[in-house]
């Protein structure tokens, strides 16, 4: 069964609204990551976490917050969504005993109108 799951899979939000994207992993990995994918940019790192209670800024954190309440769950929060945040968001998990090899969820397509 899928080890990294994301919800929702699709989301339409309004400008200025709050959006929460959720990620759950059953790999028992310490590290979790949020990326966004836009045409021509590959995947870019937004936030990541080393374990429960930890969140770190990635390369493009502006406009996003993250929350890691447990080993299994990692959320990405858009407090005031903007159309520029329309994208596909991927969650991944990894652990140092495998050199942080990353395993990805199926992605969430977010449209901000």
């Amino acid at each position: 069964e899928a080890a990294v799951t994301q919800s929702p899979r699709n989301k339409v939000a309004v400008t200025g609204g709050k959006v929460t994207l959720s990620c759950n992993q059953t790999n028992n990995h310490n590290n979790m990551y949020w990326y966004r994918q836009d045409t021509g940019h590959g995947l870019r790192l937004i936030h990541y976490s080393y374990g429960a209670g930890s969140t770190e800024k990635g390369d493009i954190p502006d406009g996003y917050k993250a929350s890691r309440p447990s080993q299994e769950n990692f959320s990405l929060i858009l407090e005031l969504a903007t159309p520029s945040q329309t994208s596909v968001y991927f969650c991944a998990s990894g652990d140092w005993d495998r050199g942080f090899e990353q395993y990805f969820g199926p992605g969430t397509r977010l449209t901000v109108l």
């Binding site: 990326y35 790192l45 942080f100 090899e101 992605g107």
Partner: protein, 109 residues
């Protein structure tokens, strides 16, 4: 400039032929991953590499850390190999992966 540069950006292959994709790095890296994003959008792990070579079926990948590049060779291309191939390099010391922009591969019959 691009820290991880993939080439070519797009490629069309006749079924049954061979090709090589390349990834050049301008960051210090000790591990590389290759992924295939299928037309549905799912990211599938192909290879996780320390310096050296791995092979899996019709795919073979090499990571040369001294010359800062990695290659992915596809042998006897099949229609199901179509999709976008991404390489990602771990930025040494901070456990963060930097992705290339991808190579869009289309295999035609």
């Amino acid at each position: 400039g691009d820290q991880v540069k993939q080439s070519p950006s797009a490629l069309s292959l006749q079924e049954g032929t061979n090709s090589a994709l390349r990834c050049n790095f301008s960051i210090a890296t000790t591990t590389v991953q290759w992924f295939l994003q299928n037309p549905r959008g799912s990211l599938m792990n192909l290879f996780y590499l320390v310096p050296g070579t791995k092979e899996n079926g019709r795919l073979k990948s090499t990571f040369n850390s001294k010359e800062s590049y990695s290659t992915l060779h596809i042998r006897d291309a099949q229609l199901e190999d179509s999709g976008t191939y991404f390489c990602a390099a771990e930025n040494t010391g901070n456990y963060k992966y930097v992705f290339g922009a991808g190579t869009r591969l289309k295999v035609i019959a």
